[in-house]
Symmetry: C2
Subunit: 463 residues, 2 copies
Amino acid sequence: MNAPAASNIKPALLEALQALVGNRVTTSESDRAQHGRDESRHPAHLPDAVCRALSTEEVSAIVRLCNAHDTPVVAYGAGSSLEGALIPVKGGVSLDLTGMNQILSVRAEDLDATVQAGVTRKTLNAHLRDTGLFFPIDPGADATIGGMAATRASGTNAVRYGTMRENVVSLTVVLADGRVIRTRSRAKKSSAGYDLTGLFVGQEGTLGIITEVTVRLYGIPEVMAAAICAFPSVEAAVDTVIQTIQMGLPISRVELLDDNAILAVNGYSKLGLPVTPTLFFEFAGSQSAVEEQAAIVEELAKGEGATNWKWSTDADERAKLWQARHDIHWAIRALRPGAKGFGTDVCVPISALADVIRAVRQDTSQRTFGTTLVGHVGDGNFHLGMQIDPDDPDEWKQANEINDRMVRHAISLGGTCTGEHGVGIGKMKFMREEHGEAVDVMHMIKAALDPKGILNPGKVLPA
Amino acid sequence: MNAPAASNIKPALLEALQALVGNRVTTSESDRAQHGRDESRHPAHLPDAVCRALSTEEVSAIVRLCNAHDTPVVAYGAGSSLEGALIPVKGGVSLDLTGMNQILSVRAEDLDATVQAGVTRKTLNAHLRDTGLFFPIDPGADATIGGMAATRASGTNAVRYGTMRENVVSLTVVLADGRVIRTRSRAKKSSAGYDLTGLFVGQEGTLGIITEVTVRLYGIPEVMAAAICAFPSVEAAVDTVIQTIQMGLPISRVELLDDNAILAVNGYSKLGLPVTPTLFFEFAGSQSAVEEQAAIVEELAKGEGATNWKWSTDADERAKLWQARHDIHWAIRALRPGAKGFGTDVCVPISALADVIRAVRQDTSQRTFGTTLVGHVGDGNFHLGMQIDPDDPDEWKQANEINDRMVRHAISLGGTCTGEHGVGIGKMKFMREEHGEAVDVMHMIKAALDPKGILNPGKVLPA
């Protein structure tokens, strides 16, 4: 972390912001430090001020002022970014939206809800509890819905419900010049012009500040069941998943933990699982549909040499079966106390998944630091976690090189440098490689919508 | 239709195009007439030339020439647009892509296929026959995949499989200056930058020419079943659908025909169906899942006063049950021989569907022309068809006013002016009303990507 720097906020801007929001704008070092870091490996950088907004109108006024003063503005939610998306690398104002935490409407008949950007997914789901509905996107952290939309987040439920791309109906967005737009109607489908919802989902605050989000809701399934199953190899596990997906079985979740990850969880949670690649399944639907799905998957798994198939529809037993998956983040941390986690996030066509995993496991097999592999394998997305000594430049170098090789391998097989974490700082260097001249189109859009470049500068698009 | 006009193609451009594609560029009146009209009510307008391209490279070279000569270029596929999207209202070159009809690759493991833009959906599905996979989007016409992507098309299967928005993985696009981009990798999900796939799906050729499309494929369901069911009112039918959707039942299709539509089909196909609002269902999945779904829907329907529930899993019987739905287009045409069809296409949140339908049925009840209502009701989308005497200006005026009132009602309830037909010519006047200042963002993007305005001018965005 850099040494805290003095605030370079322009006095006229600070004065105008104070006139607007009173003491909800601050240049205190502790506030700035809190808003200068995220959950990633990227070095912190302090904003010059933190400004807390409570409404779309305030966001509009704040952004308009920042634009007039050529001052960067970076939206801040739960602070859970894994690629530095919220770190104000060029200083400026960190625009804290956590006070925008109102659930504006839930329309059960239409299966949608509109929330302010600072509402977290758990808050929304707690609010929905009595409706029989839920919002499925689960990136792990209790992220804000606004942040999840900005990052095009997903997680373990994406194999069934899709990502934020498929689950954001409409957005309210403040543009760089302070104008406020709504990206779309609430109709379930529309052919009325350019897909602005799609454009602002995943733009990481570089084209506009998302202030309200309308999301899709789903009925809570009648029955849920969990299963786990040990495989002789990663290939066997992946082949089981390919067949499951190809049959169109609507599984809710399917997660892979490699043998290193199982080892980590066994140590942390005293589970005694066989140390071999393991799939964790979740099934949902009617009782008979769940049983039918599970029976088919069990047969597919056994055809691939799987052993130790265990399943349950009982809530407590389900939790036990999935305990290894739930504990994995803590188990990985416990592998090497004091280490810094270096997360990765490639996603490939599922036909290439076993190849990429095999290559990266080989690449990491002789390292001084521990590595674990956890995958949202139904989507071809996985995370290699590396536990690095933060003071050892050689380990950092090795980890960076492993990540580079893995990303380039994934791109060469039709994959992407980031399945769900976003580009932020860490993936900018791969954008040209992945997208070629399409990056120029992104630059054209950026220049058209944010000509002064005040919105989250230094992110997403390579210079 | 206007009287055929002489071609105003610039001689230097014509010469350059001839040098490029030989006799695949033509200014013959018959070719131009064929490329100047679609399936909509909008008056034809002839292009100055028709140019047939066989590859992305040719499209790039042609568009580059048109750009250099400030000449409009409008992509042409199956000619099945219902809103005038392909009519070259400012003349220029109609770029015929029907010769780009190669299926480039089918990757069964990854459940995707890449095709040239001129491949039709039926051609793709015929090609897939032996793979056990299919491409579900069905807009009725045997449209090209490129045209369907450009229009963000959908149809009867959208309630289960989504629209082209959800089913296009990636596009190859020629920009206004001739540059060629690929919008995205083939990974199932990605957070790597702006969603250019989403931006080019639904842009109707105003931001770029789509030359290749990678689409999602699905496993053909094991069992399919059809059901039909008569309801005492549109509200009762819609309530049944709302409950079905809210329970998360993965029905394949659910279509509403109102009493006028049933009357038309009874007359045309001698079916003797009860003249009352009727729902047509399709279920798909395993035998037990299909039976379970059908039983639940039957119960819901009976709770809403439905009678006459009929269902079958036999292919011939299924076809018979759905015959009324399949025959509706011909039945409507037969209602009034010589009439011009005036199609409409609003889509509303499903909670507003019964309201909007009630209002429009009241609005049309005393007209001199026949009207029928057919709805993709699980998505809140329906088409009111009006059979107009093409030589009666008063009927045109009435039909236009009915459409205007219906669209405004839909927009006021959170809906859209077009669920699946696109903006084309006919819906431009509603864009500001539906999107407000967001239209300015669309204009900013258009100006950035097509500064000379050569791509399908006079469409989508109101002046």
